[in-house]
């Protein structure tokens, strides 16, 4: 093959922080699968991949039991990485999941030593606060339910760089909550719809109060959670003129731009592919955070 003139070397719209994935699916080995409230944290060691950036995701497939015993799952499942730590054997990746469908059911059953096939890291990561707002003094992280996963790694990234962050986490009820240990050593305020922890109500109530403060204009909001929560965050930040990034989710078959399944309507018309143009998107770029098709598990 001759000299390559790739998009990167031509200085096109390459996101510099995007960590590139090795080409092809590879095997990682599960080292832990722990209950965390109503969720599970599955960790595996990726022997040959890079350390991902917060907000990126992996396409996951169990080495055994995928499309085997039952009718589904057939396609891999997209999961944001909740933690990533480089070690002598490789990168220990952690994923937060809830057993809600055939794919997550198989993933929840993984045991130590099992194979977890992965492709990634994929997609665009979170941007530094100063990239979104030159006057940014700190970050507000808003997580809903299982959506706290990418914020956990982002919180740690910000903390390691000495950037102030505050985390607001919301849950529906006790059965649909967990993953708190991913936020250890962090200032966290909680909300729950049933009142079992923290403020009784929505996490966006907490955000609303926080953005009423004088420092709202110097904050940047990062959010991940169910579409109605993200839409509430988007609308609130638009109203208060606060820059925000949303880590979004959509059904997708491939995760690398091939299937065109993860179409997300753009404010200016047309669609983006959430897998390669997201999953982290500027809140101002989308008309709504309510994603069609999010219910098919």
């Amino acid at each position: 093959m001759g000299a390559r003139r790739g998009p990167a070397s031509r200085g096109r719209s390459f996101v510099p922080e995007r960590v590139l994935a090795p080409f092809g699916r590879r095997r990682s080995e599960v080292v832990a699968n722990e209950v965390s409230g109503g969720y599970r944290i599955v960790s595996s060691v990726d022997p040959s991949g890079p350390v991902p950036a917060a907000g990126q995701f992996y396409m996951l497939t169990c080495e055994r039991g995928w499309g085997g015993g039952g009718e589904r799952p057939f396609l891999p499942r997209a999961f944001s990485v909740a933690d990533a730590v480089a070690g002598p054997e490789g990168v220990r990746l952690s994923f937060l999941l809830e057993d809600v469908g055939p794919g997550t059911h198989e993933l929840a059953r993984l045991g130590r030593g099992d194979g977890l096939l992965l492709t990634g890291p994929l997609g665009s990561p979170f941007s530094m606060p100063r990239e979104l707002n030159r006057d940014a003094a700190g970050a507000i992280l808003v997580g809903g339910g299982i959506g706290l996963a990418p914020l956990a790694l982002w919180r740690r990234t910000l903390a390691e760089r000495g950037l102030p962050e505050r985390s607001l986490l919301g849950f529906r009820d006790r059965a649909h909550s967990g993953g708190m240990e991913l936020f250890r050593c962090s200032e966290v305020r909680l909300a729950s719809e049933d009142g079992h922890a923290g403020h009784r109500g929505y996490v966006t109530d907490l955000l609303n109060v926080m953005l009423e403060g004088d420092d709202a204009r110097s904050s940047v909001v990062y959010a991940c959670g169910p579409p109605p929560m993200l839409e509430a965050v988007r609308a609130l930040c638009a109203e208060r003129e606060v820059e925000a990034e949303l880590a979004m989710e959509s059904p997708m078959a491939c995760g690398y731009g091939a299937c065109f399944g993860c179409a997300m309507p753009l404010r200016d018309g047309g669609y983006m592919r959430l897998c390669v143009d997201g999953p982290v998107v500027r809140a101002s770029a989308v008309e709504t955070a309510l994603v069609a098709g999010a219910g098919h598990r």
Binding site: M1, R4, R5, G6, P7, A8, F14, R18, L20, A21, P22, F23, G24, R25, T61, G67, E71, R72, P73, F74, L75, P76, L117, T119, L122, G123, S250, P251, M252, A253, C254, G255, Y256, G257, A258, C259, F260, G261, A263, M264, P265, G269, G270, Y271, R273, C275, V276, V291, A292, G293, G295, H296
Partner: protein, 290 residues
């Protein structure tokens, strides 16, 4: 494995991609230049382009099914002008011959598209996606031998480059279309396209934004084997066989059924390097057979 001749194009091995199942430009954003160094296919078939830009169908666009998936993407693309200006130069950097898939809703639209694409030296061949209605007759070109004959009759004089007709599996006798295509000057046929399918939500409503879509994946593999064999018995032009190929032995089965080249589609969604593995398994399998 020795090289393969596809209508005069020399391919290093018999595994290519199915149109619309591997976006080489997007893949380079995700995987970088490893995509070039480890390119899985011996030719690259582009996503279908149309004369004017299309944004594609409203979501949801996907449905997971048992050993299969249903898609309803709606051919989003930049249109001929955008493709030729933006995408073609990037696709020309791939280390393999380039086949461009085109679709239009009239023979005039097809003719303009084929002329514009064929004159670019980066393009080795053109695949005609004929699974669309002709606005003049209201008939699906690829479902009617007479429509196929008429379309090829108008396109054949426009270029000496190979024209490949993508056959639909959604008719009783795909071989009749292949025969018409061959007689009208097509250089090759490719099959199978997806099978029409309409998944329902748990509430019984149409799930897909466009109402229905096309089924692909391992579930359609034996249908592809039957249709490739039927077409191979009816024509002598080379066949690009595809449908649910997940392994080297699946590829070998399609070759045995009469395909010259095998395309990998849905398997690439599950593993971007599936084509590489399938080619390796095919080589190993052939070696094992001695």
């Amino acid at each position: 494995m020795s090289s393969v001749d596809l209508c005069g194009i020399e391919l290093a091995h018999p595994i290519i991609n199915a149109s619309g199942t591997f976006d080489a430009i997007a893949a380079r954003r995700a995987f970088g230049d490893a995509v070039l160094d480890e390119f899985p296919f011996s030719a690259y078939v582009s996503k279908t382009i149309t004369p004017e830009p299309r944004v594609g169908n409203a979501p949801p666009r996907l449905w997971e099914e048992a050993a299969a998936m249903v898609n309803s993407i709606g051919l989003p693309n930049k249109g001929a002008t955008g493709f030729l200006a933006d995408d073609l130069p990037q696709l020309a950097e791939l280390p393999v011959p380039l086949i461009v898939s085109v679709m239009a809703t009239s023979s005039e639209g097809f003719a303009e598209l084929v002329s514009a694409v064929a004159e670019r030296e980066e393009v080795s061949a053109i695949e005609l996606n004929v699974s669309c209605p002709n606005v003049h007759s209201g008939l699906i070109v690829g479902e009617q031998p007479s429509e196929t004959t008429a379309l090829l009759g108008s396109l054949r004089p426009l270029t000496g480059k190979p024209l490949i007709v993508k056959l639909t599996p959604n008719i009783a006798d795909p071989a009749s279309i292949a025969v018409a295509a061959e007689a009208a000057g097509a250089d090759s046929v490719s099959l199978i396209n997806t099978l029409k399918a309409a998944p329902l939500s748990p509430g019984g409503e149409p799930w897909l934004g466009a109402g229905s879509g096309g089924l692909s994946g391992p579930a359609v593999r034996t249908i592809a084997l039957r249709q490739v064999a039927d077409v191979a018995a009816a024509v002598s032009i080379p066949i690009i066989g595809m449908g649910g190929v997940e392994s080297g032995s699946h590829a070998r089965d399609l070759l045995a059924a009469g395909a010259r080249v095998v395309a990998v589609g849905t398997a690439s969604f599950r593993d971007p390097a599936a084509g590489t593995r399938i080619r390796a398994e095919l080589v190993d399998g052939v070696a094992a057979l001695g």
